[in-house]
């Protein structure tokens, strides 16, 4: 751990998860202990099937597991639903979404944890938060449209806005760049940078290593285990990254950015 002077936002202790049944059983997480400090962006990377999404689900309280997850020093399971929801925002991968809902209504759902009841009319603060979220992902123009009328990338930007509208301290995102074109990937990077500057904690699973290298910190996983956790700028992180991908990628600096190139 490089920075012990920060308070941990999330703490995972000895997480074990088994998926499947009978002979199909696999150990998806094998004794994973991790600390995520406040006000940082951590990206989780690793080969397919390394347990990245499983770990993220555990951190969100979505998956039964052995071991414990602590949110701001308190066991995740002990948090009341709504307080936890205000603290921890989630953007999943390939999740269903209703084609019929208006974009405005979809993003307003992100305000549910803040509303006194499910039938309460949105407050001004809710509307402001929704507008801010929609504008930050450049989706404001579509607010009257329905999800069914958007392309995959546009839909992803709306779902990202939904996650942002919660205005939680911690954002968990599984493949947030899915379907986004390069300019919008750059927008996303700028947006996350801004959030982290505001003190938010971002934990994202990314399969595009070059994107993941923009984070502050990197968790490298393989076969359900954490192989390495360290700063993205450190050479030891780069070497671990190359090793976990069987030396088939190379991390290089290019025009001030770190990029991971596949070796052909």
């Amino acid at each position: 751990m490089t920075t012990l002077n920060h308070t941990p936002a999330l703490l995972a202790h000895k997480l074990n998860v088994t998926l499947g049944q009978g002979t199909e059983k696999i150990l998806a997480l094998d004794d994973v202990s991790l600390m995520f400090v406040d006000g940082r962006w951590t990206s989780i990377v690793g080969p397919n099937g390394a347990g990245k999404s499983t770990l993220l689900k555990c951190l969100a309280g979505l998956l039964p597991h052995q071991g414990s997850v602590q949110l701001s020093g308190r066991d995740l399971m002990d948090w009341p639903n709504r307080s936890r929801a205000r603290k921890l925002s989630w953007l999943g991968q390939n999740e269903p979404s209703s084609d019929d809902l208006r974009i405005w209504d979809v993003v307003m759902l992100g305000r549910l944890p803040h509303q006194s009841s499910w039938i309460a009319a949105p407050s001004d603060a809710d509307s402001v938060a929704v507008e801010r979220a929609l504008r930050s992902t450049h989706a404001w123009e579509w607010r009257e449209r329905s999800l069914g009328q958007l392309s995959g990338g546009e839909r992803q930007r709306v779902l990202l806005a939904r996650a942002l509208a919660v205005e939680a301290d911690i954002l968990l995102m599984d493949e947030p760049l899915a379907n986004l074109d390069p300019p919008h990937q750059a927008d996303w990077l700028a947006l996350i940078g801004e959030l982290v500057r505001q003190g938010k904690t971002v934990i994202s699973v990314l399969h595009e290593i070059s994107m993941a290298l923009h984070a502050d910190e990197m968790v490298i996983m393989s076969q359900g285990r954490v192989v390495h956790q360290g700063l993205c700028t450190e050479a030891v992180t780069h070497r671990s990254l190359e090793a976990v991908f069987d030396q088939r990628i190379a991390v290089r600096a290019f025009e001030g950015q770190l990029v991971a190139l596949p070796k052909i």
Binding site: L62, S83, E95, E144, S146
Partner: protein, 359 residues
């Protein structure tokens, strides 16, 4: 903008419903004429006027109200089922309630020993213009209604039991199908051993508004009001669930209890409608699609609008059923099946031409 179009659509449906209700009060085996006479000049003939009044008050009014309420319950249940199962082809009978209600009615008919036409009686009464729907028959009617309702609710619980709760949508759906098939087979078995009951079952299986009296109509309206309140309370939960269980959970929604509450509302609405009017096909499927083809809105609005649309559809079908071959009449379920099926077919083709994925 959406708020305005939602309100406009609701108003349009309500106005059309009232227009059809007035028409519904004037159409029947006695024809338009004598009732109109009563309205226009009540003094012409005392006998005539009192008969006309009785026809309207004791037969057509409860029946019209009942047809509307049954349609409204099915429309609401249909929109709820489609939202809950995230499947545009879901219909209110998916959880096995229809086959449960059928079995309940079949068993009740056998046990009560009614044989020929306990249900048939009611239609005979209405065609004879007697006003004794309230009299001795009411207990039998309540018994049958109760049996249908209990059957529907038990079937839903059996489905819930088989699917081990509501956590898994696909398992819930499959359990519903299994319960439907098994209870359907059980109903046929009962009918096989008591062929007398078959005829009495006919109008139930085809769906009919003939035997709806004041008790049934009022019961359905009361349940409808309750369901509307429930839908209003739970609409945003359904919106949240539409984004997937993971997102719903991270929005702080208690996913399992809320889904159970939604299933119970679905069972109550469907069970009540089925118990009063039998298996009326397609209203629950077509009403939400009709609304969705006109407007994109939240689950709450969709369910309430689909409810109004369902009421309108069944009211229209009921009037057609009474009017098309008067003084005989068609079972309304046959009409809704033909009209609803045709409408969905048209929607499917129009939809595939315009945008893929409507159905």
């Amino acid at each position: 903008m959406t708020v305005r179009s939602t309100v406009l659509l609701a108003l349009a449906v309500i106005v059309a419903t009232f227009a059809l209700a007035v028409l519904g009060l004037s159409v029947g085996s006695t024809g338009l004429e004598n009732v109109v006479k009563y309205w226009l000049s009540p003094a012409t003939s005392i006998d005539h006027a009192s008969m006309a009044r009785e026809i309207i008050w004791e037969i057509r009014l409860p029946r019209t109200l009942g047809a509307w309420a049954a349609g409204a319950l099915l429309g609401l249940a249909g929109a709820l089922a489609q939202g809950l199962f995230r499947n545009p082809l879901a219909d209110p009978f998916l959880l096995g309630s229809a086959s449960g209600a059928s079995l309940g009615v079949a068993i009740a008919l056998v046990v009560l020993g009614g044989g020929t036409g306990l249900l048939g009686n009611a239609s005979m009464i209405s065609s004879e213009l007697s006003v004794s729907v309230f009299s001795s028959n009411v207990w039998v009617r309540l018994g049958l209604t109760g049996a249908a309702f209990i059957g529907a609710i038990l079937a839903v619980f059996l489905t819930l039991l088989l699917s081990r709760g509501v956590g898994h949508t696909l398992r819930l759906l499959l359990s519903g199908v299994i319960v439907g098939v098994v209870l359907g087979a059980a109903t046929h078995l009962v009918l096989l051993f008591s062929p007398d009951v078959l005829q009495a079952m006919q109008s139930f299986i085809l769906g009919s508004t003939v035997f709806v009296g004041w008790t049934s109509a009022i019961l359905m309206v009361v349940v409808w009001c309750f369901c509307c309140v429930a839908v209003w309370l739970l609409g945003r939960v359904l919106d949240g669930l539409s984004l997937g269980d993971a997102t719903a959970f991270t929005l702080g929604l208690p996913v399992a209890p809320m889904r159970l509450a939604l299933v119970l509302v679905l069972a109550l609405a469907t069970g009540t409608a089925v118990a009063q009017t039998g298996l009326i096909a397609f209203v629950g499927l077509a009403a939400p699609h009709l609304v969705r083809s006109l407007i994109k809105t939240t689950s709450t609005n969709l369910m309430l609008l689909a409810s109004l649309a369902g009421g309108l559809l069944l009211l229209a079908a009921d009037i057609l059923a009474r009017g098309l071959i008067a003084p005989q009449e068609l079972p309304v379920g046959v009409l809704t099946a033909v009209l609803g099926g045709g409408y969905l077919l048209w929607l499917m083709h129009a939809g595939s031409a315009r945008r893929v994925g409507t159905l």
